[in-house]
């Protein structure tokens, strides 16, 4: 184990890996700081750039974007009350109030410091908990994996904000798209319609670029969401005083623990985690009335939780092969292209790589903190870039990135179709998360379900009532029923 840890550490200190990490953190900060551009979009659009480098270098850049974008999303939330990423919604509640009191610098400093604290605490969870979880997951057979995949998709549909039916339909659409290509068991061609490139299935990355890049650009254009903020040049002191540190400690640690747990649940990310943590900190505060009016405790809890969701999501992704959120869904696709299959076997066969990921996350957290503290003012200036420039850049990088993946024009058209479809689905209030999850989990669900049925000689009851499978299926029913029960309660006068 020690040799694996040292090998993982050595990989991170490779100058080229560090260079990619720094580039990723800076790019992530730009994506996070600009309202409308998210961590998901950044990772999706820039993933093709990583295919020409080693897995460590590529992952360094993508993790850098992920870790850099989430705290940077707090910058516009604090300065102009517009969250840069969904995870920074709760950051705006107290952060913007602090900025209005003339303490924008302090709010940005807390954002950088507590963001790093959240990321580091959740990375510690990943390092400690991932190996036991992966060992447990090794007991899973085909039936258990099929149950887990169904549970993952249902969870994402369940948390789709009262849109359970639409979420499930989106998940099924993703599963349907995943059936394109050769049948995983018999290699029989399905739905390829004579296009030879489709025999390998629909490329995952162009779909992601379309859904999260092009569709978002089209949404913003259609809603006329063009903006160019004016920022006050003087933001004041950035570092908290000793007394302020004392006030921040407990809420931030509590927020980080909550964020890690929420992030580990498939489909639930920093947006949900930060709101829960903010509410929890308010309940436990001596002066809850100050929350929403510039309470440092509220800001610390929200920021730590939003950032801690990263480690939680990475734990689920690495141990079970199930994405914890949309970014980790894209990371799975990127890892697969580098020949790395996330899941319990990764912890048996490629331990040094697991530790590389852990150390990359630690390094990214520290770099992000430094960037947040030293670069708060320049990052704030990014908000002055007009939106149409960004739309043009995202469209171009998305298009060329999709093409560069396989040098195939068909991928560009897939990206275009996914973008237009994603736009209309979003207009129709259909969540895109379950679609992505269905696309990723489709092959896993189909091959494991069919394998389980073959092993049990077609015995459905026997397959579905294996203890772990049954647990996942009951959890699936509960995760789908709970939002419906809640919606019915809300409608009751």
């Amino acid at each position: 184990m020690t040799a694996d840890i040292l090998q993982g550490l050595a990989s991170v200190f490779d100058p080229q890996v560090l260079l990619f990490l720094v580039a990723g953190v800076i790019l992530g900060a730009v994506f996070g700081a600009l309202p409308g551009l998210t961590a998901t979009m950044g990772v999706a659009v820039l993933t093709p750039l990583t295919f020409w480098v080693s897995a460590e270098q590529g992952l360094a850049m993508l993790l850098g974007i992920y870790c850099g974008a989430i705290p940077a999303g707090g910058i516009p939330a604090i300065l102009i009350n517009v969250p840069g990423t969904p995870a920074s919604i709760a950051t705006a509640w107290d952060g913007y109030a602090l900025a209005r009191k003339g303490q924008a610098g302090l709010a940005l400093g807390v954002n950088a410091l507590m963001g790093a604290a959240g990321q580091l605490i959740s990375t510690l969870f990943l390092a400690v908990a991932a190996f036991p979880i992966a060992r447990f997951a090794l007991r899973f057979g085909p039936a258990e994996y099929a149950g887990l995949a169904v549970f993952g998709i249902s969870l994402m549909a369940g948390v789709s904000g009262g849109r359970v039916l639409k979420g499930l339909l989106a998940g099924l659409l993703g599963l349907a798209l995943a059936t394109v290509g050769l049948d995983p068991m018999t290699a029989y061609p399905r739905f390829s319609f004579g296009v030879s490139e489709f025999l390998d299935g629909i490329s995952f990355v162009p779909v992601m670029i379309g859904l999260f890049g092009l569709a978002e650009v089209l949404m913003q254009i259609s809603e006329g969401r063009s903006q160019q903020a004016s920022i006050d040049a003087d933001i004041g002191r950035v570092l908290p005083t000793a007394a302020e540190w004392k006030r921040l400690g407990a809420p931030a640690v509590g927020g980080a623990v909550l964020g890690t747990m929420v992030g580990a649940v498939p489909a639930a990310g920093g947006d949900i985690g930060s709101v829960i943590a903010w509410e929890q900190a308010r309940r436990m505060a001596r002066k809850p009335i100050e929350f929403g009016k510039g309470a440092l405790e509220g800001l610390g809890a929200a920021v730590a939780s939003a950032n801690a969701a990263i480690g939680g999501a990475m734990t689920t992704m690495l141990t079970l092969g199930i994405p914890g959120d949309a970014v980790s869904a894209i990371l799975i696709g990127a890892l697969l292209i580098h020949g790395i299959q996330p899941g319990p076997l990764l912890f048996e066969n490629q331990r040094p790589f697991v530790f590389t990921i852990v150390f990359l996350l630690v390094a990214a957290s520290l770099l992000t903190m430094l960037l947040g503290l030293l670069g708060a003012r320049p990052l704030a200036n990014i908000l002055r870039i007009p939106s149409p420039w960004l739309w043009a850049g995202i469209t171009l990088f998305g298009t060329v990135g999709a093409y560069a993946l396989n040098n195939a024009v068909v991928d560009v058209w897939v990206m275009f179709a996914a973008g237009v479809a994603g736009f209309f689905l979003r207009k129709a209030d259909v969540p895109l998360g379950p679609l992505v999850l269905g696309l990723i989990l489709g092959p896993m669900l189909e091959s494991n379900l069919r394998r389980a049925l073959i092993l049990s000689r077609g015995d459905w009851i026997g397959t579905l009532t294996r203890p772990i499978t049954l647990f996942f299926l009951i959890a699936t029913v509960l995760s789908l029923a709970w939002p419906l029960v809640q919606a019915r309660r809300r409608r009751r006068p």
Partner: protein, 140 residues
Amino acid sequence: MSATRITALAFLAFSTTFAATSWTLPKGVGAVPGPAFFPLAIATVMAALSVALVFDRGSRPAGEPSTTPGTTRGFIGVIGLLFLYLLSWGTGLFALRTALFLCLMLRWTGQGWRSSAGVAAALTGVVVLAFQVGLRVSLE
């Protein structure tokens, strides 16, 4: 007709087409499910949920629009420009075609001619440098 109902009918149409196409695939023998098994299962569940959505009163209160009103002209124009740009893919002169596409897109989204041309040239330069020179991707 409400947006939800149109969405439900679109999903229903997709599931019906998907089921019809899946029906032509081998269905398997005895306990061994064939290539049609999974797609047919998806299509069946999707059709059932689509029907449920048609009759769903929805969690959204009646009368509340599901989307904000916006500029239809803007996004249709950008989709059209991108479509034409993609149609011309592989015909050579990548840098020129790209700069022209970006310039028109920027102009369409409300930027002045001068700034559109400048940003288009800069973005094209970055992409050519990153992909064609740096990563040796043939964009022509």
